[in-house]
């Protein structure tokens, strides 16, 4: 792999929450890379730490409980200069220069991700004028251009409308327009379609693929839906209980899932025409503040060995950039 092609490397990332119930290790030793112009999918159940991972990259982990406690997030900007985001002050000018400008983000709930009291135009213009030296008129023109790009009809009129006047799908398009308005190198999409209807979901995903072709940014998409990953991603990281348990190119992962959890996820997808009872992984995700000893998945794993219950598995290289964190493959 050519180093110049790597946009972002996350190594040994740990993000902990210091709560009354104890330390919640939401992200614990997470490693992955995102290549320029490619899409990384992060998959896992709710509460597995995938959202926290994405927020860590943005340095938006909520204070005072949450904190990046270790690891590196190396970002290589336009000129190849390396920045370790994990070291930056979350509220400092350097981090703010990256946010929105270099790395942009869209969220799960399009209904609430836009400020209800400002017009969508104002909100896009705010972002543009923050990072680019444009006057109001040019910024507005740019905002309209972006709205057209994401397929909003009558963009010249819509630009003055308020979020509550738009449907959920439209709002997510506005969010995408806003996120891409400063030509970021990386777009983080945190479950962007979870709250949308299936037909709208397909449209938004298609739009994202389309925009990636046009604008060439990398995408990190966080989802619990393997279907979304299959459609969009080039590489996949499967997360479980704060750890990446399997990391592979998307085709490779679907072809030979190695971790029992990944296998379970793949098996629990409905297949059209198959009327057999849907497979489900038994048991529940363990509480992140009280993780059991050994492999966190061991209690739900059909093939668990003695060592799984006593010792944490290490990352095992399975070739072709495919790695897995499991004793069964050690």
């Amino acid at each position: 792999m050519n180093n110049d092609n790597i946009l972002l490397t996350c190594s040994g990332l740990r993000t902990y929450f210091y709560t009354d119930d104890g330390v919640v290790k939401a992200v614990d030793d997470v490693n992955f890379t995102i290549e320029r112009g490619k899409t990384l999918g992060i998959v896992g159940e709710s509460g597995c730490g995938k959202s926290v991972t994405s927020h860590s990259i943005m340095q938006l982990v909520p204070k005072p409980h949450g904190k990046i406690s270790g690891g590196e997030i190396i970002y290589r900007g336009h000129d190849g200069e390396e920045v370790n985001i994990a070291d930056l002050d979350p509220f400092g000018p350097k981090m703010r220069q990256i946010r929105g400008n270099e790395i942009a983000m869209i969220f799960q709930e399009p209904m609430t991700s836009l400020n209800p009291v400002y017009s969508i135009g104002d909100q896009i213009i705010e972002s543009i004028r923050l990072h680019q030296k444009l006057n109001k008129k040019d910024a507005k023109a740019r905002a309209i251009e972006m709205l057209k790009l994401v397929g909003i009809p009558a963009a010249e009129l819509r630009v003055n409308e308020y979020p509550h006047q738009l449907s959920g799908g439209m709002r997510q398009r506005v969010m995408i327009a806003m996120a891409l308005s400063c030509n970021p190198k990386l777009l983080i999409a945190d479950e962007p379609t979870t709250a949308l209807d299936v037909t709208i979901e397909a449209q938004i995903l298609e739009l994202m693929v389309d925009l990636q072709k046009k604008l060439g940014m990398s995408i990190m998409i966080i989802t619990h839906d393997l279907g979304v990953v299959g459609e969009l991603a080039d590489d996949v990281a499967v997360m479980y209980a704060g750890k990446v348990v399997e990391n592979a190119a998307v085709v490779d992962l679907f072809d030979r899932p190695l971790h029992p959890y990944t296998q379970g996820l793949l098996n629990s997808r409905p297949v059209i025409g198959n009327k057999k009872r849907l497979f489900s992984i038994p048991g529940n995700v363990p509480h992140l503040a009280h993780l059991p000893k050994g492999c966190p998945f061991a209690a739900r794993c059909a093939n668990a060995k003695d060592i799984c219950l006593s010792e944490e598995p290490a990352v095992v290289d399975a070739g072709q950039g495919h790695s897995v964190r499991c004793w069964l493959h050690a």
């Binding site: 509460g47 959202s51 909520p62």
Partner: protein, 376 residues
């Protein structure tokens, strides 16, 4: 959001642990975790104990006039006397009276030669406890002819401490009874309004709107002034309670209406309807219990409002009438700066008002936080 993620994880756990534990147990558990709310409850318990055993706990009867000691300052409780001798029993010095020849005002000064030891279970003014039996036993006091005015005396020479304890009977019950009445009325109106909707709802809502568009105290004043002054004090007391509750129900009714409107469309009410359960039965069996925690919270927070209301009305002379007394009545003696400068102890009753209001607010806040046991 991450908070939410954590909350989600935590609440999933919280829900999985106390399975089978009733909502009330959860409320209790959460309430008892709140230190402020717990201390509020303790203060309330102390205050009501004082009201219940007022005759026994106060050294004097509320109407006993000490005409030799008019507007006497509080007598300090001491352990060490003039000769630096430590007494095993706390004591107070007697008073000697002096007259300022310029202002003709009477001053009281401690007479260091006269010592009155404070004793437990002394005989003093006789009283009929709750009208049941007659006795003259007081928890503490000094033996006659000694006097002990813990908080001094008022302009008629009555012991302020004793009067505060007696007055707490009125002050502490006005809020309680008033809230009880307004809860009954508010619940009835709110649930009817929310359940039936339409014209009934419209009328009730307009009435509430009219009631709420008046500022509270001027309206209380107008209503309190309508109570005939020649009435028996006990009726005046009940009248004041009624006046306070008459305006209190609107807010409760409104909030309950909102809750019922939301509940009306929920499955358990629809299911009850589908089973042919009658409307009154749905209201009593389903809607009221489901709103009960809400009602209790609002009620608790309304009590201090009413106590302040009674205090204000009595302070203005529109409230409780003699021979009854309340904290507001006691405070009305301190209405003028002139008097206050000479007898600052007359404002002591306000500490009771503040303590009560704070305590009820703490408890109410604690209940509100606890009433929603599944939220973190």
């Amino acid at each position: 959001m991450f908070n939410k993620t954590i909350k989600k994880i935590a609440s999933e756990e919280a829900q999985s642990v106390p399975q089978g534990v009733s909502q009330w147990r959860l409320i209790k558990r959460k309430f008892l975790k709140n230190r402020l709310a717990k201390s509020g409850l303790v203060i309330i318990a102390i205050l009501y104990t004082g009201a219940i055993f007022a005759e026994f706990l106060s050294p004097y009867h509320m109407d006993t006039i000490h005409d030799q000691f008019v507007q006497a300052p509080p007598q300090r409780v001491r352990w060490v006397d003039n000769d630096k001798k430590i007494h095993l029993r706390p004591f107070v010095y007697g008073y000697k009276k002096e007259r300022d020849l310029n202002t003709f005002r009477v001053y009281y000064e401690e007479d260091r030669d006269i010592i009155f030891p404070i004793k437990l279970f002394v005989r003093g003014d006789s009283y009929k406890y709750w009208g049941l039996f007659e006795t003259d036993l007081h928890l503490f006091g000094v033996e006659k002819p000694g006097t002990w005015f813990l908080f001094g005396t008022d302009a008629t020479g009555k012991d302020l401490f004793s009067r505060i304890l007696y007055g707490s009977r009125v002050s502490l019950t006005v809020g309680l009874i008033g809230v009880f009445l307004s809860i009954i009325f508010g619940t009835l109106m709110g649930i009817t309004s929310g359940y039936f909707g339409g014209l009934v709802d419209n009328i009730i809502q307009r009435v509430i709107e009219v009631l709420m568009s008046f500022p509270q105290i001027p309206l209380w004043m107008a209503l309190a002034a309508a109570i005939p002054p020649q009435w028996d004090p006990i009726f005046v007391y009940l009248g004041i309670t009624l006046v306070l509750s008459l305006l209190g129900w609107g807010g409760l009714a409104r909030q309950l209406r909102g809750k019922v409107l939301a509940m009306r469309k929920q499955e358990f009410v629809l299911a009850a309807k589908a089973c042919g359960v009658s409307t009154p039965s749905i209201i009593v069996r389903h809607l009221v219990p489901n709103s009960l925690s809400h009602i209790i919270v609002i009620g608790t927070l309304a009590i201090p409002q009413m106590i302040l209301g009674e205090t204000a009305l009595s302070f203005l002379g529109l409230g409780i009438k003699a021979p009854m007394t309340s904290w507001g009545v006691l405070l009305s003696q301190a209405q003028y700066v002139r008097i206050l400068l000479h007898a600052p102890w007359l404002v002591i009753p306000v500490f009771w008002v503040v303590a009560t209001v704070l305590a009820f607010n703490f408890v109410g806040d604690g209940l509100r936080d606890a009433a929603d046991p599944y939220s973190i």
